[in-house]
């Protein structure tokens, strides 16, 4: 009986953290849509949304309201259960990635050390990979349930694309994992706080991971699954109202969380560069340090979000065969080469070849 007892303090603490992370990622995703439109406008010498509120900052609310008020259509010949399940899964898997990302070190409150990570599982990276793979089900189910050839084509494209690029992504990460020796994201951040950021030790791995992250989140130049001019919107062409909103929203949540993962893996997570953390904690205290770390983490994420948008408004979409060529013939061998190189260097290092 003792095994099943619930520690209510931990429960509340985690619950609050979960609510904060989920609502936080949703708000960031909401404002990503605004930022996306603004960045697109600025890059194209336009002004972007500037009518709703000062500088148009209420635009996401207006967009959300519009989506809620639209007519909700479920096609007659679709399978209704799956049709509704699709966007739900897409959103769920997108948000669940946030569970293992360390958002800060810890705060000291009510005489307790509260870790700013929902779950410090020792297989953090594997968990993320699992969630990303599940994400394709949202798209696949949506495309299938629509009972529409274009939707199915879009879904097929998405599925094959995500599966192809997951391979290169995984292998590029193996090289990183050989360096870290752990799968826990928190430990990785701790290692980067003491030493170099992993971007300097794994530049090629980072590049491959970045490209694959673009592919996994279905962002341009890899947005074949929703190519408007070929597939009328791809897997979500039959969707309307907030179900469509969920799909579009899930993309932004994915973008936010994959940025967070990339920052954690390669850019030191919540590590503040050029600062000795221990002396800093002694001067301003643990809690303020956590706030500062969270802010730094957020700034790094925003840089990545900007990169995502910047690339979207620069590069045209790949053709399907080009996509597959890049995934299988270039990225996969490159990732394998990177893995071998890293392995060789580590072996040399262990045999006292100092360089």
């Amino acid at each position: 009986m003792h095994l099943l007892a619930i520690d209510w303090v931990v429960f509340t603490e985690k619950l609050i953290l979960i609510i904060a992370v989920v609502s936080g990622s949703l708000v960031v995703a909401m404002y990503s849509t605004y930022a996306e439109r603004k960045v697109a406008a600025i890059i194209q010498d336009r002004r972007g949304p500037n009518r709703a509120g000062p500088f148009g900052i209420l635009q996401p609310l207006a967009d959300g309201l519009k989506l809620f008020f639209k007519e909700e259509i479920i096609p007659k010949f679709s399978s209704k259960f799956l049709f509704i399940l699709g966007p739900g899964i897409a959103m769920l898997t997108a948000i669940m990635i946030g569970a293992v990302v360390p958002w800060g070190n810890k705060i000291h409150i009510f005489n307790r050390d509260v870790s700013l990570q929902i779950a410090d599982v020792n297989i953090g990276i594997l968990y993320i990979f699992g969630m990303v793979s599940l994400g394709v089900y949202g798209i696949m189910i949506g495309g299938w349930a629509s009972n529409n050839k274009f939707s199915l084509l879009g879904a097929m494209r998405a599925a094959s694309q995500i599966i192809s690029y997951e391979l290169a992504m995984g292998i590029s990460l193996i090289a990183l994992l050989m360096l870290t020796g752990t799968l826990s994201l928190k430990t990785m951040v701790a290692q980067q706080m003491d030493g170099w950021w992993y971007i300097f030790k794994q530049p090629l791995g980072f590049l491959i991971f970045l490209i694959c992250a673009f592919a996994e989140t279905n962002r341009t130049p890899f947005d074949l699954s929703e190519a408007e001019n070929e597939l009328i919107g791809g897997y979500h062409s039959e969707y309307s109202s907030m179900k469509l909103g969920f799909y579009l929203f899930a993309e932004y949540v994915n973008m936010f969380l994959s940025s967070a993962v990339m920052v954690t893996l390669f850019f030191g997570g919540y590590d503040i560069p050029f600062v000795n953390d221990q002396t800093f904690i002694n001067t301003i205290g643990t809690n303020w340090m956590a706030v500062l770390q969270g802010a730094v983490f957020f700034i790094k994420i925003v840089c990545f979000l900007f990169l995502f948008m910047w690339v979207r408004w620069t590069i045209p979409r790949f053709r399907y065969d080009q996509l597959m060529n890049l995934g299988w013939k270039i990225l996969l061998p490159l990732a394998l080469f990177n893995m071998l190189l890293t392995g060789a260097l580590i072996l040399l290092h262990q045999n006292h070849w100092h360089f």
């Binding site: 600025i42 890059i43 194209q44 010498d45 336009r46 002004r47 500037n50 590049l207 910047w310 690339v311 408004w313 620069t314 590069i315």
Partner: protein, 188 residues
Amino acid sequence: MQALTNRVQQVSRKKMTLWERIYLPEILKGMFITFKHIFRKKVTINYPEQTRKFSPVFRGLQILNRDEEGRERCTACGLCAVACPAEAITMEAAERQPGEEHLYREEKYAAKYEINMLRCIFCGYCEEACPKDAVYLSETFAPANYQRKGFIYGKKDLLIPHPKEDPEGFAKAKGDRAIRPEGHGNEK
């Protein structure tokens, strides 16, 4: 094949060099170009708050002119209606009664003057035909309306504001055309 003009450019089908096939440098080049655009001046203006200047030859909504004392210039001769290729103008003439000299410039005036803005093609022939300098094409255009009858503009809509009672509105309605006091040469 013989090219029709000397502007023809042949599509280049040459093989990509290794540098181009690496692809990333070219992407970075493209991204640098888009990044430069962030600092460019915006070509868009904030429309309802800011408007662009119309060209001086812009032919917009008609206005019925008044003279300096605020009397209507139109004498209902009907030349504008005759000149109108779209047959958009109708008018009814009336005789000026004693005591109305401060309202109408000539002995005859238009009691009713209507332009159907859905028919009007804004060619400006009415302006050219008018011997009394009474009808002008201004620098505005017909706003949207929900009903057809909203596009039939009567005297109420067309008359320029009174130059003495509302000099600002008068100047605004007259627009930059007021700069050309010599008119277009049709004045008496």
